[in-house]
């Protein structure tokens, strides 16, 4: 009885985005992707741009992103999303175009495409998930894998002598004049989620200014790949990832 009194429209303070398709996500429990998807759907819904948005999904764990958000999608080859987005935006300059890419996709195989799309200042938004590991293929080293971090291809821990250093691609991207907004966020706490949401709204709105690329890195967890519980993964991320990939705005010309 009391429940029915509370469950009224006027008392509603939050609801799932209407753009999130009602289906079970394939992500592991604790994975950051689901939270970022939610923020993405909310952003598109709140800006009222569903009819004007075209998303480019990657190869990696988020390959099936197009199954979860109710907009038009293109599924790119590994690393090539910025090239697809370039064409879409050039042909539809008034639409909202974004890529969603992981660290292997964006910072390893797709470095050429992301650097040049950003250098041309394509009016797109790039969402970059950095969890320092290849999730979908089973936990191999990523370009952002930390030194000493164990993965299936660095079982003795990553050594820069053998495989180089964790690449700080967002700092590199921020140096390009074509980029108007580069920020690094996370989704491990409620306040971090709110900050990331603000960054999303700002990045998508900035496409209207036609001033250049907006780029959001989200330092994320991969508890399956890291072989930790979701809670442990969040702690580990804060202790080990944040010192190498500090959270905050790197460039803001908006």
């Amino acid at each position: 009885m009391e429940q029915n009194i509370i469950k009224q429209e006027k008392n509603k303070v939050y609801q799932k985005s209407k753009l999130l398709i009602d289906r079970v996500m394939h992500y592991c429990p604790g994975c950051s992707h689901g939270t970022v998807h939610k923020i993405l759907a909310e952003t598109i819904e709140e800006l009222g741009i569903q009819e004007k948005t075209i998303g480019i999904s990657p190869v990696g764990c988020a390959v099936l992103l197009y199954e979860y958000i109710d907009i038009d999608w293109q599924e790119a080859a590994h690393g090539r999303a910025p090239a697809l987005a370039t064409a879409v935006k050039r042909l539809y300059p008034d639409k909202y175009v974004f890529t969603y890419q992981g660290d292997g996709d964006l910072a390893s195989i797709g470095t050429g495409e992301i650097i040049h799309a950003c250098n041309r200042g394509e009016n797109i938004t790039v969402i970059f998930i950095n969890n320092a590991i290849y999730g979908m293929t089973g936990g191999q080293m990523a370009p952002t894998t930390l030194e000493g971090m164990q993965t299936s291809t660095t079982p003795r821990g990553r050594s820069h002598i053998e495989t180089g250093f964790p690449i700080k691609i967002t700092e590199m991207i921020a140096m390009l004049p074509g980029v108007v907004y580069a920020t690094r966020q996370s989704v491990d706490t409620a306040s971090a989620v709110r900050k990331t949401k603000k960054a999303f709204l700002k990045a998508f709105k900035s496409q209207e200014l036609k001033k250049g690329t907006s780029f959001i890195e989200i330092v994320s967890t991969c508890n399956s790949g890291w072989k930790m519980t979701p809670v442990e993964a969040n702690h580990w991320m804060r202790e080990n990832m944040f010192p190498v990939f500090p959270v905050g705005d790197i460039k803001d010309l908006i």
């Binding site: 907009i71 038009d72 293109q74 599924e75 790119a76 080859a77 697809l84 042909l91 539809y92 040049h116």
Partner: protein, 374 residues
């Protein structure tokens, strides 16, 4: 009637693209086809028709820009030459897998590897037998003149959209670089966004309006049963293309005792050989495949009962000749003459080889190049 002007093959492709309402060109410079990009930039079609022209950072990026544009229902084109097409192979496979329409122009040069910048025809296998991974086919048009370089752009887009399949215009450095008189195509406006939504709204990713389901351009299906169904769907489409779209040009084949088979520049050389042979009283003819896929197997098969032998001529070590042999089914002998590395066949060499074949004195050392009986 539009004006007739003197153009390079590469320039004709560029002008034809603008005139047929192409929406975008993405490309990366490589010899011997850079004039396509240069001509488009010089023409500045953004001001004429609104066509987008962009120099990409690599062939890999260019083909993926093509994917993005094609998935929007736009008419998009790229061009390259052999090594660049190898780089594009990944993207071509994805485009075929996502069933997107587009044109890829390959102005072939000699290979393998960096090879040479001189003309070649050694990408036949890459064009019609695969190139990228997976079971897919390109519709392959092989122009033999600057006029056809012009004409095949519009034809290519028609076929690409009819079947939602990538089309390759596969030519060589001579056809790309040489100048001939061309009747330009009449100018057509680009489709408006409203027209695209109306025509291709069931698949084009233009932003999802409230009245339709979301469109997804993808080549992924993790369910093996569904992926097999998709492959069967593709096969059905390719069979339909084979039924409807075979194009070839016969020349003096009616009474011919010996038939030459060649495409592109080699076909022009062989046409001259046929004339030389006829002057000498030898009944020779030529079949020029215009589409390399679908291949005119039946046209070749149909002459087999009344000819004594076939000589295939290519600027390769022998690629298309395998399809000639498939059509002939071992019923009559097939010989091959190939020049590689940027060397060109000559009408005289082909004629000399033909005479030796007729006299029963064929020897692989008769003329320069790679000569053999299959």
């Amino acid at each position: 009637m539009t004006e007739k002007i003197l153009l390079k093959g590469n320039e004709a492709v560029a002008l034809a693209a603008i005139r047929c309402g192409c929406d975008a060109y993405f490309g990366y410079p490589i010899t011997p086809q850079s004039e396509i990009l240069e001509t488009l930039i010089e023409q500045h079609p953004e001001k004429q028709t609104g066509m987008v022209v962009l120099q990409a950072e690599s062939e890999t990026a260019a083909i993926n820009m093509l994917y993005g544009g094609a998935a929007c229902g736009k008419k998009v084109m790229t061009s390259s030459s052999s090594p660049g097409i190898s780089l594009m192979a990944e993207g071509i496979s994805y485009i075929a897998g996502a069933e997107l329409p587009c044109i890829i122009v390959n102005v072939m040069r000699g290979g393998p590897g960096l090879g040479t910048i001189q003309p070649g025809q050694a990408d036949y296998f890459q064009t019609v037998k695969g190139g990228g991974h997976g079971d897919y086919r390109l519709i392959a048009l092989a122009p033999a003149s600057v006029q056809e370089m012009n004409d095949f752009v519009e034809l290519g887009f028609d076929l690409a959209f009819k079947y939602r399949n990538p089309v390759m215009i596969v030519t060589d450095g001579v056809i790309g670089q040489m100048m001939e008189k061309v009747q330009l195509s009449p100018s057509k406006p680009r489709l408006t966004d409203q027209e695209i939504e109306k025509l291709y709204g069931d698949w084009a990713t233009t932003g999802k309006p409230a009245y339709r389901k979301r469109n997804i351009a993808t080549s992924l299906d993790l369910d093996p049963g569904k992926q097999e169904q998709f492959n069967m769907h593709l096969r059905k489409k390719y069979l339909e293309i084979e039924r409807n779209e075979v194009r070839y040009e016969p020349f003096m084949c009616e009474d011919a005792e010996y038939i030459l088979v060649a495409y592109g520049l080699s076909a022009r050389v062989c046409r001259k050989t046929v004339e030389l042979a006829r002057e000498a009283g030898i009944k020779a003819g030529l079949i020029r495949p215009v589409t390399l896929f679908p291949y005119p197997y039946k046209a070749i098969e149909s002459v087999v009962p009344r000819v004594k032998g076939i000589l295939t001529v290519e600027m390769s070590a022998g690629q298309m000749t395998e399809d000639v042999a498939l059509a002939v089914k071992g019923k009559i002998p097939v010989w091959f003459h190939g020049r590689t590395g940027g060397m060109l066949p000559s009408p005289e060499d082909v004629f000399s080889l033909l005479k030796n074949i007729i006299n029963g004195t064929f020897d692989s050392a008769d003329v320069p190049g790679i000569n053999y009986q299959l």
